[in-house]
């Protein structure tokens, strides 16, 4: 049931659905330590890649590199046959890090509206209310976010998943601090995104059960 409700929430079609992410011979150095070398993979529309590895094995470093936040010491990352950087790439990217990017002083609805205006996919007030309702924050839209629980704060940040039109999602531990229902909801949304020819790279320590999808895995460290 939850899944049916979600399907109608594809508010905006993905921009440029036919893209490819290519990673060629990537190496990462943190301080003195080499975290990984010569990492290569490609990701095509409709694929999910789960990055696995122990704590400190470089999962977050890899995701930050894929986003273009940090530069690799060797190798390259290509999106649509061009370097994965710049405003065009950013338009196609949704990155949710373990920082929630949620302002405690603002209400959930303000947070979501502001995040969407930064992502150049502005929402209307009813759309944002709808998304918050779906993610289980109905009735709390206008409370200050600092009054919410840890899991609810996570949900405020993850509400962006419901309204994003970016084809490439990079998610760092999206399932932490969420209850069972929220985990199901997020996984259903991931499945929907893949069905729309989106792409997902994520890390999680939980067992991922995306309906109808066998995630590809790479192991770091």
């Amino acid at each position: 049931m939850a899944q049916e409700a979600l399907l109608s929430l594809a508010l905006v079609p993905l921009n440029r659905p036919y893209s490819m992410l290519e990673v060629v011979d990537l190496s990462c150095l943190r301080g003195e330590r080499t975290l990984f070398t010569n990492l290569s993979f490609t990701l095509s529309p409709g694929e999910l890649l789960q990055v696995a590895g122990a704590n400190g094995s470089g999962k977050t470093s890899l995701l930050r590199m894929l986003c273009g936040l940090s530069a690799p010491i060797a190798g390259e990352i290509r999106w649509n046959n061009a370097a994965a950087r710049g405003e065009d790439f950013n338009r196609d990217l949704l990155y949710i890090s373990h920082h929630s990017a949620v302002k405690e002083e603002l209400t959930p609805i303000e947070n979501l509206l502001i995040a969407s205006s930064f992502a150049a996919a502005p929402l209307t007030q009813p759309q944002a209310l709808e998304a918050l309702e779906r993610i289980g924050l109905g009735g709390r839209e206008h409370l200050p976010t600092k009054a919410l629980s840890q899991g609810q704060k996570r949900r405020v940040g993850l509400a962006r998943l419901l309204v994003s039109n970016a084809p490439l999602w990079i998610l760092d531990e999206p399932l932490t601090a969420l209850d069972v229902r929220a985990v199901e909801l997020i996984q259903a949304r991931l499945a929907e995104h893949l069905a729309q020819q989106g792409m997902i790279v994520l890390t999680t320590h939980q067992t991922l059960q995306v309906p109808g999808i066998t995630p590809r895995r790479i192991e770091l460290g």
Binding site: H99, A101, A115, F118, A120
Partner: protein
């Protein structure tokens, strides 16, 4: 592009409004520092008139140091800054919006308050007007230049002290021409030259520093 600028300014003003205490602290710091001087120096009208422009300007510089650390710190800690770097807009425009909003809550109130504080120094009304104009032109320069320092010291331990060491020397031109405008008027010289130079400095820093700050932010986030 203008939309982004406006939405960043609106967002930062809203955040400042929700954290009013921070804004008021800076303003009260400025008021108290300026007011201590007449008490310390004594009721010697001539001396007070002489030191007034310098005192007000130095207090404004110090007050700006207090507020600068907050320019990017909160966004850095909660991950919003990452999202800004990954937004499909030029980072320089987003930074410009943040600086403008920062000036509106930390620089503009100082400029508005200064004429009132100048009364304690027995400044004539025209000199108060010039003090106001000089601060109106000068405080945005402080925000613009300070933003570079705030970006460079982001996430460093003891960043506050380092920020002062980096930024205060760069404030010297603004200090000289800003305080100089009022001093010139009191000495009977036309202050227009000082104000024009201050305006030129404002235009230059407004055009250049957002992009330099954006670059510094990318380095700080690596």
């Amino acid at each position: 592009m203008g939309n982004v600028l406006l939405s960043v300014i609106r967002r930062d003003l809203l955040l400042a409004f929700r954290r009013r205490a921070d804004v008021l602290t800076t303003l009260f710091f400025f008021v108290i520092v300026v007011s201590l001087f007449p008490l310390g120096v004594g009721p010697e009208m001539k001396t007070l008139r002489l030191i007034a422009p310098g005192v007000v300007w130095v207090a404004a510089l110090l007050a700006s140091m207090l507020s600068l650390q907050r320019l990017f710190a909160a966004d850095y800690q909660d991950g919003t800054l990452e999202q800004m770097l990954l937004a499909p807009h030029p980072l320089g425009v987003i930074v410009l919006g943040k600086i403008v909003a920062h000036w509106m809550v930390s620089g503009l109130p100082l400029a508005l308050m200064a004429p009132l504080l100048g009364l304690q120094f027995d400044l004539p009304p025209e000199a108060l007007g010039i003090l106001f104009i000089a601060l109106l032109l000068g405080t945005p320069i402080l925000s613009f230049i300070g933003a570079i320092g705030a970006a460079l010291t982001l996430g460093l331990r003891g960043g506050g002290v380092l920020l002062s060491l980096l930024v205060l020397p760069l404030y010297i031109p603004a200090l000289i021409f800003g305080a100089g405008a009022v001093e010139a008027y009191i000495a009977g010289v036309n202050p227009e030259g000082h104000l024009s130079l201050l305006a030129a400095l404002l235009i230059f820093s407004g055009l250049a520093t957002p992009w330099v700050t954006a670059l510094a932010l990318r380095i700080a986030m690596e």
